[in-house]
């Protein structure tokens, strides 16, 4: 095994592999910052260039690019409240308030460093856990994944700002909007009104660009003033403050990384749930939970560490079983086939050096992304201080072109505009946009796994699968708990008030 570790690293020490890694990382950061064009688009666009090169160099290009897009997405979440991709949603909860308070440099520094540590921890645990995790993965079926997806929905509904009821409505709306288009099971066109364009459904990145980027620009236009509430020149926090914050919260980084690794290992769950779950565990384990949502650095560290580690976890089912851990891993699977590498159990015996090359790529690409990120953070942090009159046309133009670029359809530009107006009203009336987006993401998984569960285990499948049943009970209890506690608290308060009134 030790020789495979060394061989994996040696394969990456060629000028071509190093050059490909640098190109992939720089390109990934640039594409990640553009709203809507996440790691999947970036990797897909690189696919035509992979043929005829060394496998290690090709994988360095693809994975380097993918890892860099994650940090790129975090940048827009933190600076503009516009998540570059769904997985970076949780970074808007505290990252954007930090920017508003003039701590953008600190948030970006913390984000880059947490992503590096998460990436390293994820890669190390990937190397260690390959033989252990495989049986666990095989034991979980569609019913368990269905409950996990439902759990993802209720977790974000619980954590939405303001009314829980509104959070749940936004989630239901998001799930419903995802059903527009051709039903993947019966091929029935749903809610398409006979139009050809809607047969493909509402593109998820386009909806997100509208909701966040255009919605945010409408808000900025209506409100006026710059994004940040303080003068950029008077900032007293630096990128290095963010780096120090990460090391001060080392256990949070460790916990979040393990969570990200575990979520990555589960095929199909994806990092979108991971970021939210990381945020939730950070709140519940923090000594100062009251500061979450107001611009605390812990709210940036936890999701970024999880996202960093998620890559290592996502590689496990891709390599060991040939089941992609997410959409980006599906593209990687295509690259494997193109390179003549067949993922599956034999990867861990015949191609162990390739596996360790991937582990090294994650570590080196994470380090490179962080190095570039730390250098750039100071400059990027000044962007929100720009006059909104300059920001609005710039972001609007890039967003609309980005919406068009996702599928090359003009209709998507209108969809982005409509979602922009919807997003503005959701901000105005406190309906969580994050819930709507996650609802859209998880709807497909819910539908697919429900059909599979019924086909495999019958209509009462939940009673056939004890693990899924236990997970469902836990999910119901955790969702109902805030309502019950709130009702109890109000009853106690009303009781106290009436006692005080009677006494006086």
């Amino acid at each position: 095994m030790l020789s495979a570790v060394v061989d994996g690293l040696t394969a990456l020490m060629t000028p071509q592999a190093i050059l490909f890694m640098v190109v992939g990382v720089v390109y990934g950061i640039a594409v990640g910052i553009v709203p809507g064009l996440g790691g999947i688009v970036a990797m897909a666009l690189l696919l035509p260039f992979i043929y005829g090169h060394e496998p290690a160099a090709t994988l360095a290009l693809l994975i380097g690019c993918h890892i860099a897009t994650i940090w790129g997405s975090s940048v827009t979440s933190i600076l503009f409240n516009v998540p570059g991709s769904a997985k970076s949603l949780a970074l808007t909860f505290d990252g954007y308030p930090m920017t508003q308070q003039g701590h953008a440099s600190r948030a970006l520094g913390a984000s880059a460093t947490a992503a590096l540590l998460g990436g390293v921890i994820g890669a190390v645990f990937l190397a260690i856990s390959i033989p252990i995790v495989r049986p666990v993965m095989l034991a979980l079926g569609p019913s368990e994944y269905l409950v996990m997806a439902l759990w993802g929905l209720t977790v974000i509904a619980t954590f939405s700002d303001g009314s829980l009821l509104k959070g749940l409505i936004a989630t239901a709306l998001g799930v419903s909007l995802a059903f527009v288009g051709m039903d993947p099971v019966t091929a029935t066109p749903r809610y398409t009104f006979g139009t050809l364009f809607l047969l493909d459904g509402i593109s998820f990145p386009v909806a997100m660009i509208g909701m966040f980027a255009i919605g945010e620009m409408i808000k900025l236009y209506v409100r006026g003033g710059a994004i940040i509430t303080r003068d950029v020149g008077q900032l007293n926090s630096t990128t290095m403050d963010g780096v120090r914050d990460v090391f001060q919260h080392k256990w949070l980084v460790f916990r979040s990384s393990l969570l990200g690794l575990w979520i990555g290992v589960l095929p199909g769950i994806g990092a979108s749930v991971g970021g939210i779950a990381a945020y939730a565990q950070a709140v519940q384990t923090s000594r100062t939970p009251e500061k979450f949502g107001t611009g605390t650095v812990e709210g940036v560290i936890a999701p970024d560490a999880t996202l960093g580690a998620n890559e290592g976890g996502g590689l496990l089912p891709t390599l060991a079983l040939g089941i992609p851990g997410g959409e980006s891993m599906a593209i990687l699977l295509i690259a494997f086939v193109a390179l003549g590498i067949v993922p599956g159990p034999q990867m861990l015996t015949e191609h162990l050096d390739v596996v360790f090359s991937l582990v090294w790529i994650i570590v080196i690409a994470s380090a490179l992304t962080t190095a570039i990120g730390l250098v750039l953070s100071g400059y990027l942090a000044r962007l929100p201080g720009l006059n909104p009159k300059l920001i609005i046309p710039l972001v609007m133009s890039i967003s609309l072109v980005g919406a068009y670029a996702t599928r090359g359809q003009m209709g998507d530009v209108f969809v982005a505009g409509i979602f922009g107006v919807l997003g503005y009203f959701m901000i105005k009336y406190n309906y969580s946009r994050a819930n709507l987006v996650i609802g859209m993401v998880l709807a497909g998984m819910i539908e697919r796994t429900l059909h599979l569960s019924i086909s495999n285990y019958g209509d009462y499948f939940i009673f056939e699968r004890p693990v899924a049943l236990i997970m469902l009970i836990i999910m119901i209890v955790t969702t109902a708990l805030p309502f019950i506690r709130s009702a109890r608290k109000r009853r106690a308060l009303n009781g106290k008030l009436s006692t005080d009134g009677a006494a006086s």
Binding site: F159, F179, P289
Partner: protein, 176 residues
């Protein structure tokens, strides 16, 4: 219009949307509506509950801070938190909202009719000049840089066809 009236209109629109989804969904096969139908019903139920909640309970009951409840943070701790929360827009004027929606509608329509690059150039120039951010010449220069950057990133680096428009083929035919 009062805040509550606005909130009521918003939730009534949601009720109408979920109701429409239920009615339309009735035509689909049981397998095709297996998930979409219950979700629309749940959405309708939640929206009706929200409508009742915001009209029959006091304004204080409208907001439940889940973080406060789950994390067990007290009212006092909340008050002690000195960092300001990000604020939702305060409805900043109906005229400003209408203007913003008109801009979005105009830009998206122009994008469809004239294409990405001409729209970007004209929109950026017009916005910067009319908002008195800069002179027409300076606005045109900035817009040209933005348009070139978009052309380079999307058209050249990412290889996306950004010359499509409604009038483009018509102009091409006229010129030939």
């Amino acid at each position: 219009m009062s805040r509550r009236a606005q909130e009521n209109i918003a939730v009534v629109l949601l009720i109408a949307l979920f109701a429409a989804m239920i009615v339309i969904g009735m035509d689909y096969t049981p397998r095709a509506r297996l998930v979409s139908f219950p979700v629309a019903v749940i959405g309708l139920g939640l929206a009706l509950a929200q409508l009742a909640w915001q009209n029959f309970r006091s304004a204080d009951d409208l907001h439940v801070d889940a973080l406060q409840i789950l994390a067990g943070r007290s009212e006092k701790a909340m008050e002690e938190t000195n960092a300001p929360r990000p604020k939702a827009p305060k409805g900043g004027g109906f005229t400003a909202e209408l203007a913003a929606f008109a801009i979005v509608a105009a830009v998206t329509t122009s994008f469809f009719v004239f294409g990405a690059l001409p729209t970007t150039f004209v929109f950026c120039t017009a916005y910067l000049a009319w908002s008195r951010q800069s002179s027409w010449l300076r606005a045109a220069l900035i817009a040209a840089v933005v348009t070139l950057a978009i052309w380079f990133l999307f058209g050249e680096v990412l290889g996306i066809r950004i010359d499509r428009s409604l009038v483009g083929p018509m102009l091409h035919r006229m010129m030939n």
